[in-house]
Amino acid sequence: MDFTFSEREEAFRREVEDFIDKELPADWVEKNVYWPAGYGTLAQFEELGPQVEQFTRRLAEKGWLTISWPKEYGGAGLSHTEQAIFHERMSYYRAPAGEIATRIGGPTIMLFGNEEMKKRWLPRIAGGEVRFWLAYSEPNAGSDLSSIQTRAIEDGDDLIINGQKIWGTAAHVSHYAWMAVRTDPAAPPHKGISLVIVDNASPGVAVRPVMNICGFPSFNEVFFDNVRIPKKNVVGEMNKGWYYLMAALDFERLAIPIGGFRRTFEEIVQYARETKHNGEALSQEPLIRSRLANIAIQIEIAYMFFWQTAWMLDNNLVPSIEASLLKLFTTELSQKLANTGMQVMGHYGQLEGISKWSSLYGRVCLGCLDCISAQVGAGTSEIQRNIIAMRGLGLPPT
């Protein structure tokens, strides 16, 4: 075993640091209230639109917007450990890096799309010109995703789509839906689903933002009323969508905001050092110290799950259980971190935003709300535990 990074990896880390230093506005990390693993505050990027756009453009120029892609498609041709280093640093600075098109759409098209589709989509995604939103969930298909009912019926060279999607993060500021639709209702649930790309501007598409409990319109419900799309927008083969969708889970394993945990923890520690209570720094109180130590331990474990997953991918090992452990552990840590932040800050933890009495830009206040979403999105904690139990430990199906 060797827990040190190679010289090449250390050099790459410095390169990422330098890039962030140069391209990310200086006060970004301090002002950004993104809570690690949460979904609720992602929409703050919209208010900072031009800054995000510019940063995204720079990332694209550098080839890092599509960092996990193979070189031949405009990717950076890096190892998984290097990608992990990139995600760690970017999330440490709460930098916006990639979305559905770069993380799921592009890699899926590379594996399963035909040549025409690759040519049409990949360069635009790699260039940061198009943004996708994930149109999977429906009001009656959450964890039980294969029960989606949004229908697509063939009509000549087109498909006509009717139905409703929900929880589409950033759908209102994206260009296309990366969407699962039912194309064969007679087949078993998993075998009648297709994956399609739908232009948000198509007639019949209605996007309605849903205000989340953090006060951001990060999610949307989207209605499809006789929306017509060309068949060339079907990804891969008809009715194989479920298979593509499952395969795409593999692409996201390292896209964990691991550095965000460390960053936010450091800020809370700093607060505890600087804040006096009865004439003594909070950080001197045994209970506070113990609580902070407990978070430090779990951040270390989260990092170990993270590096282990990267290392396994680099060594052609399949981290199926490890990836679920990573997701489960970090999202639960998201809530523990928020709780600890609140315990350290007490009354002050409940103050929103920037005010005379608030600290840390109100991020703990917002984090206490946002952390709820972490255990729900992208496979709930319960689904992750099912995966670990059945796929990892070989327990019989429920």
Partner: protein, 377 residues
Amino acid sequence: MDLGLSEEQEMLKKSAREFLRGECPKQLVRRLDESDEGYSVELWRKMAELGWLGLVFPEKYGGSGRSFLDLAILLEEMGYNIVPGPFFSTVVLGGLTILAAGNEEQKMEFLPRIARGEMILSFALTEPAASYDAASVKTEAIAGNGEYVIKGTKLFVLNANVADCVLCVARTRKTENPEDGITVFLVDVRTPGLKCTLLKTLARDKQCEIIFDNVTVSEKSIVGRRGQGWPVVKDILQKAAVAKCAEMVGGAQAALDMAVNYAKERVQFGRPIGSFQAIQHYCANMAMDVSGSRFVTYKAAWKVGEGLPAALDAAIAKAWVSEAYGRVALSAHQIFGAIGFTMDHDLHLYYRQAKAAEIIFGDADFHRTAIARELSL
């Protein structure tokens, strides 16, 4: 980074698992638990033959020069199987102390004998205050005529009942800083005035009270330097905490494996209980605890072996694994239900281990305090 085990390490792990399954079945574990000696002479000899007792000692001291991480891997397997006996006290507490702080003469005298299975050691640090700080070392060693007279009571001393020699941590000088003036002595248990009494414990591990009633030892029995024993103790406590974590990881893995196998077989309501999500989620939590514990333990063990500063990693490991093993063992009990609450069943052997291991070398609170200190809070 290389986060996998080497071929040699995989082999050590596999051969240890097989050897112990054959040579240390649970009937033997139970018999030894109930005996006063708490170890099998025959098994001890076989472990010596396999090179386990000298695994981490350099070759010139009769060992095989393997790393601390290798020792951790072996201990993980010992924890998986449960191996009653003085391996930990002899090799980790005794052997590593002599290796780190002993003079050449002491190393040549003791290490080869340990490796050959001819010498059992014990480490007497804790006292009635039952704590791991220097201030609680009250046992005195008073100098005179090139000799020292030791007087005091040591408590919770592992395997002293069968030890040939005991490393005794005593105060040779009273100073303002409790960490000064501490000296480590190597004491033959047959020395007049030394009285060892076995304590009855939860894990039936052989913890003892040792009373030093004016025990006279020569200056030559000092390990390390006079008055500068605390750094030696701190160093071995760190190694011991990490080594204990490795043992705990193995025990937790065993409890998980037992529970998962049982959940696949036990049928209620017409189906295996492992098909119920409540049970599946217990198992998933246990797997998360075992994996997380293993990662932090290996990292700490690797750092110790490489001679890197490991205070933070060791504290993280012991703080986490101390509680994780207990959680895993209790969840396993919940899955086994009533049968797990019987003496006949093996699970309680692991639960007992978990509780004993949780306490020794600093519990979770102790190490969380250390972590806060390491983080400069």
